[in-house]
Structure formats: structure tokens, C-alpha cells
Amino acid sequence: MSKATIIVHSGDMDKLYSALIIGNGALAMGMDVSLYFTFWGLMRLKKGGLEKGALSRMNFLGLGKWMIKKQMKKANVRSLEGLFRDFRELGGKVIACDMTMEIMGIKKEDLQEDLITDYGAVGTYIKEAKESDITLFI
């Protein structure tokens, strides 16, 4: 089966949307998908952290984000939480970077453990990326 491997390094709201939409799209097309959450991306997996990311551009102290969220609601865009549930329901894997956890002092119980499939490091990523048809760094 074909496969997509995506590193989620950014914790920005818009980039998290990109990662989850691409991930869900690939699953819908019948691919296997793994999302590797590291650095600022991993911060979004902390309890209550999913929606906390700023916009990567034009955030304007949250005003830009507020406007985009308003537009997204109008367009009926699914929430990050909803997209995450979809991703897991369709069999997508979520790997949390254990080195980030160590340097940022994050414990497993600080994370939304129900969203995470596995804990891993670079070796796991490389092994999976080698077998992948698509690999992205977001």
C-alpha cells in the first residue's frame, strides 16, 4: 500500500490545518499515513492545546486568527479536533517525538494521549519515510 509521512514541526493553526487536511485526504485515497509531531507541533498535542496556535502570518496579536476562524465557521470548515478524530478513525497514525518531550519537559500525562498512537524518534521517521511515496515537513 502507498504511504504518506508528514512531520508536523509547526504549531501554527493554519499549518496544523494543512497537515490534518492532507493527512485525511491521503487516508481517504486509501494511503497509510503517519503524522510525526515535533517541537512546536507537539505543543499542540498538550491537553487543551489543539486550537491554541497562532496564524503563521498576519496573526496581528490574535485578531487575524479571530477573523480567519470567523470565515472558517462561515464556510463550515471542520474544527481541528474534528479533523483529528477523523484522522484517527480512518486509521491514521500519530507519533509524538520523545526528544521534544524530554527537552520541553512534557510528560505523557500532559499530552492528549487518546490522540497519540506511538512515541518515537528520528529512526522511526526515517524508516517510515523510506517506504513512503509522499513525505512532507510542515
Binding site: I21, N24, G25, L27, A28, M29, G30, A75, N76, V77, R78, L83, D86, E89, L90
Partner: protein
Amino acid sequence: MSTIEVDCVGETCPVPLVETRKAIRKASPGDIVEVTGTHPASKQEIPMAVKELGLELVGIEEEDNLWKIKIKVR
């Protein structure tokens, strides 16, 4: 053999694709998945996913921007 209806009217990317995939996963061989929606790109992309998944596209109908895609699950 049953027909599974998926209502994606008013939904946008990637929801119609995702909900179609969910329904296909739950369906049994021989079942028909019938997706209705209004998102234009999904009308092109659901048939692409059907092909990728090796399923049968039974038909596509469209009237007044409302489309219906029928898929036979193998």
C-alpha cells in the same frame, strides 16, 4: 446488500472525501454508498478516491449544483 447514504450537503474540503471513506470502511462487499453534496471539488475527487481504492463508480448525477455519487463496495 444495503444502501448507505452519506449527506455532505453544505460541507467543504476535506469532509465529503473523509465521510465517504468512513462509509466505505463500514460497508460490506456489495453495498452501495450514496454520497450527496454541494462542494464542487469533491465531485471530482470522490471518483478519484473510488478509483484509487479499486471500487466501482456506479454513477454521478448532478442537478442545480447538488451532486450524487454512487459507489459499489467490493
